[in-house]
């Protein structure tokens, strides 16, 4: 579903991603782990077509970025650590706006379904400004799944949420992933990631330095050990 070859991204003189390879099969839920500044957000922004790769090939659902960006965007749902919502509009109006941008059929019904799924149906006529951080984040997910995308990207979705909000968010994330969608999620919360993902990749120094399937992991502790080793060893081999 996602195929990245020899991806390079620079910020001025600074090289963020150096010849990175990355593959995700349809239906996989990949947690992208890594220390701060490893380039996780940058990488996700490239997948999201918000940032242009300097070199290399990026394909999502077969479409090439950046030149087939419009086709990619139609198949992509993105949740960043900012909610991408308008505070002065209600939940309903926010979704209606994005629904128009994505040209969704039977919009009103779809919006109600989505609000039901993220548990905000009873607050649909309230201004987003009055929502708690957790509610905003759930609505942000609703916004991202509105057009029923094949691929979803989550950038640190748990940032700034308390335990309860995290648990509710996880339920929504599971519901999203259960529908056979391909998901890539960045996170530095290993415990949360361990519960959700089916595969764990470690991004460090601009490359994927290690990758492991959930099936090969027995406990969360194993993941922690795996992560520590991957980050500390510069030449750790894949998988």
């Amino acid at each position: 579903m996602i195929r990245v070859r020899k991806l390079v991204k620079r910020f001025g003189p600074k090289i963020v991603l150096r010849s990175m390879d990355f593959d995700v099969a349809a239906g996989e839920f990949v947690a992208l782990l890594g220390p701060n500044g490893a380039g996780k957000t940058t990488f996700l922004r490239i997948l999201a077509s918000l940032s242009r790769p300097a070199l290399g090939e990026v394909r999502i659902a077969g479409y090439r970025l950046p030149d087939q960006a419009a086709a990619v965007r139609r198949r992509l749902g993105v949740v960043s650590h900012q909610p991408l919502l308008y505070g002065d509009l209600t939940a309903m109006e926010n979704l209606r706006f994005y629904g128009r941008m994505y040209a969704i059929d039977d919009m009103e019904r779809r919006i109600l379904d989505v609000l039901e799924m993220v548990g905000l149906a009873n607050r649909r006529h309230d201004l987003v400004r009055t929502f708690s951080r957790g509610m905003q984040q759930r609505l942000a997910i609703g916004r991202a799944v509105l057009h029923d995308p094949e691929v979803m990207l989550f950038d640190e979705p748990h940032t700034g949420l308390d335990q309860d909000a995290c648990a509710m968010l996880d339920n929504v994330l599971r519901a999203v992933a259960a529908r056979g969608r391909t998901v890539v999620m960045t996170s530095h919360d290993l415990a949360r990631a361990a519960d959700l993902a089916s595969r764990f990749d470690v991004l460090s120094r601009g490359k994927i330095v290690a990758s492991v399937q959930r099936a090969e992991m027995e406990t969360t502790n194993n993941l922690l050990a795996f992560y520590r080793q991957a980050v500390s060893e510069p030449e750790a081999s894949r998988g």
Binding site: R3, D23, A25, A70, L84, R100
Partner: protein, 243 residues
């Protein structure tokens, strides 16, 4: 699966009419969204209006706007007021997109960037015209004149179009800078000067009822400037929002 995916997929060709429909739908969605949000908060319009009235008040004392002086400076006072209030609105409108990352949300949508540009620009134009339509009668009442003439309204519309066209582009740049609050007027005023000169001259001509041919020269110029500024602004919008 992988094998199959590595083969290039052709983007389905969409007909011209469908493309136009998509463009217009996205553009109006952006306009509608800005108007609906403003209807709720009324922050932007209130700010612009109060500021505009304050500017007129200050001019009143600074220039001793008696009947004689007024005839020659009214058009200048009006356009300075519009320009200042305009930067306030432009800044606010773009800051709203930047604050919760909404600009990214817009860019993620599968629509042409120019639809976003024109949507924002039309929203800004509507706010600016509303402010102008409030300032005109207030000014008329305060100084016991009548500023409502079809000619002046036309000039105000044309001047605002050029101003907003450049302003929307530059405010998109300004909000992405660290110094965003002070940057917009500094970037905007020297560039938009030709529009302001033509607008002031045309309005002044109409208010002092000089022969129409003399005014028309300026109106023609305004139309030309509008065409130039609208087309370059929308050409460059892509470069200003893409990374």
């Amino acid at each position: 699966m992988d094998e199959q995916l590595s083969v290039s997929v052709e983007v389905p060709r969409v007909g011209l009419r469908a493309q136009t429909a998509n463009f217009l739908r996205a553009m109006w969605a952006v306009v509608w969204k800005d108007l609906a949000a403003e209807w709720r908060s009324r922050e932007l319009l209130t700010g612009m209006l109060v500021f505009a009235l304050l500017v007129i008040l200050i001019f009143n004392f600074a220039l001793e706007l008696d009947a004689k002086a007024r005839a020659s400076v009214t058009s200048g006072v009006l356009w300075v007021t519009f320009a200042f209030a305009g930067t306030l609105g432009l800044n606010r409108s773009m800051a709203a997109e930047k604050d919760r990352g909404c600009l990214d949300g817009l860019l993620l949508a599968p629509v042409d960037r120019s639809a976003i540009y024109f949507g924002k620009a039309i929203g800004n134009l509507i706010f600016m015209l509303i402010v102008e339509l409030v300032v005109l009668p207030v000014y008329s009442v305060l100084y016991n004149t009548n500023l409502f003439s079809p000619g002046l309204l036309l000039v105000i519309l044309l001047g605002s179009v050029g101003y907003v066209a450049v302003g929307t582009l530059l405010s998109t740049m300004a909000v992405q800078a660290r110094t965003r609050d002070i940057l917009l007027p500094i970037l905007l005023f020297p560039l938009v000067l030709p529009v302001l000169i033509a607008a002031v001259k045309a309005s002044g001509g109409i208010l002092q009822s000089v022969p129409w041919e003399e005014v028309q020269v300026w109106i023609n110029l305004l139309v030309v400037y509008d065409v130039i500024f609208v087309s370059i602004a929308f050409m460059f919008f892509d470069y200003v929002v893409e990374e």
